[in-house]
């Protein structure tokens, strides 16, 4: 059960049974013990419509997901802008649509960032590749030094 007084939520998206697709969850595994009490974490195979309701209770949201491209330093961190996108399947609901629905239905627009971490292999297997592990380390380090600090300030 979530304490809705908390201000920030980290949503890790992926599937740890598909190698580097588990980067979003691995990020949460690495970081959650270090987070202050006003941070929550959620693990997701995929985003769903009801996640719009979930994020409407927060001031800041981080979506963390694996990225198929090779990124500089192994990850990127971009602002998430609400967009009314339209996909074939609800399996493909992107963070931008969730943010759009939170704004449209609940009149809430939490600050939102997407952290994409480069992976290279997404086959049926448990465990990250060495490439992904290094990128994960970089992303976690960046988050600890920057985003965590920024969000903590926002929450004060």
């Amino acid at each position: 059960m979530k304490n809705c007084d908390n201000k920030t939520i980290l949503i890790g998206i992926g599937n740890c049974g598909r190698e580097d697709d588990g980067l979003g969850w691995a990020f949460l595994d690495e970081i959650k013990s270090k987070l202050p009490s006003h941070f929550d974490v959620e693990y997701r195979y995929q985003l769903q419509i009801e996640d719009a309701e979930l994020i409407s209770h927060y001031d800041a949201v981080y979506f963390i997901d694996a990225h198929k491209d090779t990124l500089e330093n192994g990850f990127n961190c971009e602002k998430c802008i609400p967009v009314k996108t339209h996909h074939f399947s609800s399996h493909e609901l992107p963070p931008e649509t969730i943010l759009f629905l939170a704004e449209s239905i609940y009149d809430k627009k939490p600050e939102s960032l997407i952290i994409g971490i480069s992976g290279e292999s997404f086959n049926l297997n448990i465990g990250l590749t060495e490439f992904a592990q290094q990128n994960l380390k970089n992303a976690v380090s960046f988050f600890e030094k920057n985003q965590l600090h920024i969000s903590s300030l926002q929450a004060q």
Binding site: E53, H86, S104
Partner: protein, 483 residues
């Protein structure tokens, strides 16, 4: 020129299926089929595993109704350890039922608000860009908010009992792992952090009012679209024939309400059912042995359950059931589109039952597990959101599963869905010089009424790569249409 129309994949359903419609030289429908093109193989690869793994493994069949598979398998495994349903401790029974009502509640909410309502709110012919759950959220935000929170309530109940919303674990052979705490149950009753069980009941009544109002305005459509005579099958309470979702006896009627399966005990199911196969589908076709393949098939799910039962134990759902029965003057209801209405009455029933169980102090008890004398076989039958679900296991002396038979809800509905597809093909598509997207969607509309779970948890939003291919009689492509 003879043609074959193909809808692949069918959308806004769980899993993957396709429809083919075969036309003659005059564009008249010769035949139509709903094909299930996935193969799962759970019955085979679970063999050799220890029996206690079954409830955990088989729930991976699905991401929408894993609780139903978890519980059906658990009921069967209870028998392997010598515990019949009535021998389970009361706390364990109630905790399992609480999770089951949460499951049916969230699944029905998902289906109505996310998958079915776009067709009802916007119409068959609406732009697919609008005819989806995002469109519902944009144009009917109050309805969408309620739908989201109702689904969330059911999922939170599942998480409470099983640890997580999808693929959690609650049962152990002969009982459940843990009790509920007073603090945990108050979360669902005090209306503070989430809307309470009372609010769920109130909203359920409101959504039934919505469908009744819709029926007044669209009576002919709901009453006649893909209406056809069929048998109906479901569990009922063995003591009074009332609606039962967790543990009861099997009852079936024909399209006129005559009993065709008379309150059969779960263990005896195998004496009454056969399954046939067709070369064009991976889904089997179950039927009652004594009636045969042609006449022995039955609908299952909300409409069937409300047809075969003699009442509902909760007051508000009972009142709505009586009103529903009055629409057909108490006779068996064969209107496929009324399945939506029946589903919403079950939502109300589940909401009332969740409140009743949450307020019951038995769920706080530590009396959770029973033991009995080891057996070699177990049958678990449950009413999943989509209908009667049968799990049957046999084990050897080394505790390994040697045989597994699963008849899932959608399997029962295989023939009914094919009948429905043929109805639309004959009444909407046949003889038309031009096939529109709206016409094709009507085939999907009638399939969606059954809320088929074609194996896993894939949901499509409505705007999708629906491909229509027209072949000549030699198999050459004459025309293609994509949306």
């Amino acid at each position: 020129m003879a043609q074959k129309l193909v809808i692949d994949p069918v959308t806004r359903v769980e899993g993957h299926g396709k429809v083919t419609v075969h036309l003659d030289d005059n564009n008249k429908v010769k035949d139509a089929f709903f094909h299930i093109v996935e193969f799962r193989g759970f019955e085979r690869f679970i063999q050799g595993h220890p029996y206690w793994e079954a409830p955990v493994m088989v729930q991976r069949l699905c991401g929408i109704c894993p609780v139903s598979h978890h519980l059906a398998a658990a009921k069967a495994i209870d028998q392997i350890v010598g515990v019949d349903p009535d021998d389970l401790s009361l706390p364990a029974q109630k905790i399992r039922k609480l999770m089951h009502f949460g499951q049916v509640f969230q699944s029905h909410a998902l289906h109505f608000f996310y998958l079915a309502s776009p067709d009802l709110l916007f119409g068959h012919d609406a732009d697919p860009l609008k005819r989806n759950v995002v469109g519902v959220a944009m144009e009917h935000p109050k309805l969408a908010k309620k739908g989201i929170l109702m689904r969330k309530f059911g999922q939170e109940i599942i998480k409470l009992v099983a640890g997580k919303r999808i693929h959690g674990i609650s049962t152990t052979p002969g009982g459940v792992h843990r009790r509920i705490s007073a603090k945990e149950r108050n979360y669902f009753l005090d209306d503070k952090e989430i809307p309470s069980a009372d609010t769920m009941i109130k909203w359920s009544v409101e959504i039934i009012d919505f469908i009744k109002e819709y029926h007044k305005k669209n009576k002919e459509f709901l009453d006649t679209f893909a209406a056809y005579p069929s048998g109906h099958l479901g569990l009922v309470k063995k003591e009074n024939g009332f609606l039962e979702l967790y543990d009861g006896v099997l009852r079936a009627t024909d399209s006129e309400g005559n009993i065709t399966l008379d309150d059969v005990a779960n263990d005896d199911y195998n004496e009454h059912f056969y399954e046939s196969v067709e070369k064009w589908s991976y889904l089997k076709f179950p039927y009652l042995k004594h009636l045969g393949r042609e006449k022995g098939w039955n609908r299952v799910g909300p409409l069937a359950r409300l047809n075969v039962c003699e009442g509902i134990e909760t007051p508000l759902a009972e009142k709505e059931w009586l009103a529903f029965k009055a629409e057909t003057n108490g006779k068996t209801n064969n209107s496929t589109m009324h399945t939506h209405w029946a589903r919403l009455i079950e939502i109300l029933y589940c909401a009332e039952m969740m409140k009743t169980i949450l307020e019951d102090d038995d769920i706080l008890s530590n009396d959770l597990v029973r033991k009995g004398k080891r057996r070699k076989e177990g049958v678990g039958i449950i009413e999943a959101p989509r209908g009667t679900l049968i799990h049957h296991y046999e084990v050897d002396d080394k505790d390994r599963i040697t045989r597994c038979n699963l008849i899932v809800s959608t399997t029962h509905n295989n023939e009914p869905m094919n009948q429905a597809v043929r109805w639309v093909a004959n009444n909407v598509l046949s003889g038309q010089p031009k096939i529109t997207e709206g016409m094709m969607n009507q085939i999907e509309v009638v399939i969606r009424a059954y809320d088929p779970c074609l194996s896993c948890a894939t949901h499509a939003l409505g705007q999708m790569p629906l491909e229509l291919v027209i072949y000549d009689q030699y198999g050459n492509i004459v025309d293609e249409k994509l949306r």
